[in-house]
Symmetry: C2
Subunit: 299 residues, 2 copies
Amino acid sequence: MANIQSFDELLTFAAKLWPKRIAVVNPRNEETFAALRDAMEQLHVHLFLAGDAEIIRTAMGSSPSITCAPAADPQTALALCIKAAGSGEADMLMKGSVDTGTLMKGVLEEKAGLRTGRLMSDVFVFEDARRHRLTMITDGGLNVAPTLKDKIDLILNAVQVAHALGNALPRVAILSATELVSKSVPSTMEAAEIAKMGARGEIPGCIVDGPFALDNAVDEEAAREKGITSPVAGQADILVMPTIEAANALAKSTTYFAGYRLGHVVVGARVPILIPSRADKSDAKLLSIAMGMMMDVGT
Amino acid sequence: MANIQSFDELLTFAAKLWPKRIAVVNPRNEETFAALRDAMEQLHVHLFLAGDAEIIRTAMGSSPSITCAPAADPQTALALCIKAAGSGEADMLMKGSVDTGTLMKGVLEEKAGLRTGRLMSDVFVFEDARRHRLTMITDGGLNVAPTLKDKIDLILNAVQVAHALGNALPRVAILSATELVSKSVPSTMEAAEIAKMGARGEIPGCIVDGPFALDNAVDEEAAREKGITSPVAGQADILVMPTIEAANALAKSTTYFAGYRLGHVVVGARVPILIPSRADKSDAKLLSIAMGMMMDVGT
């Protein structure tokens, strides 16, 4: 089992895995190709590239590690990639020039055989330099206003990532703007409900508590000052935000303000799904691929 | 008019102002007293301290700059402070050992004479080391789920802070999880509505645009990569978050992850109100007082 505390360790570990095959839907632009070349070189991945054969061959050349599946349009490329993932020919899916919504819709189709019955959600992982540990934020990418039931899936998906990285019992903080349960802040009441579900054993594989404000979730001194007694306070590995806006802003803040490294992976389908955005740095893309590679390790 | 780009400049400028008087509601603990002593020494403030006379005199000694107003309980201390602020005897209110809700309720009473007709909101200010400018986040402290109408007041309040610091035409970004207007993300539609109100001249004293994701609001390269043309993109001075949870987590992230300095002030009443929390560092308390001191400058 892995026991990965940093992104450098993640890259080292992933490079030693049995080669994984990534199915890429309609790769077209140079930044996608650059990320794929990095991943071949550093992580020894195999590629299943569905899209314009000429563009793909020009950009990637030919290699025994590359399968090129010609497809006339993004929809056909998507169908080919989904088939490859469904049949086990590919270990993960990655978005090229195709809309995230279209990609997700394809994955959710019954015939794709990729559904698990669990909601899919995006898990951001950043390296908290201050605390020397990989920390997760969810869901800043897919679920706009998750219900309580949705949030349980969000938690289970993030916990799966933590387990894959070797954190066997991650500490999950349900965040709000305050650590006090108050009727005037509905997200604190929902956090209390989820925390109690955790305490009753309804959310396996992790320790859940909430509500917390960010400071008392990630900073032990702040938690002490507020007098919070909880195994999660100040030590959270997973930050579950109430809305997509809160999760997205917090995740981007760790990159744009704190300068932390970041990767993210969509969990909840039978294979991990990567939805890199154009604003993602190449390092973020490589880290996301490495995380995707870990997802069947240690579970 | 001030033209303040950093917290060091803020402290230097505030120290040169004609002394301001702060009415403090029921100061009782050492960290509050320490912040007040700092403010007397560095910012030459005068103090109106309402509460337990013996505790106050023991902690603060006697000084021509200190008025001690004996009060048997927090409610009486609050009434004395509100009267001082209402009559012009005090220039700002500061919370000691009293509940924020109780303080705000007192301020909102008609007879206090402190209402302006505008909503009160908390404005966080942080020093964005990367961009060398003071940037504001609102509202992470008071308004849980502000409506569109509420958000206009939140903007006007933050704009008032920006003006007080010498930024005559602040750039206001209405944030969501994405810069695309989409029915599936309601906060993007509201952002579009507010942006158009700004374009039609309905929100004076600033340039408003949205929706933005955090990256394309504060990072010019990210804005360029997304092809966004806007005077606010990548250059936001004020970040208006959709909910209290998003604003609170983002503000705390700048301190706990990025290590930025931070202060905050409640605007919208006839005097600025300071609601320091126990987790605020002493630097944050001093910066908050300095910001409160600026609020009648340059407007």
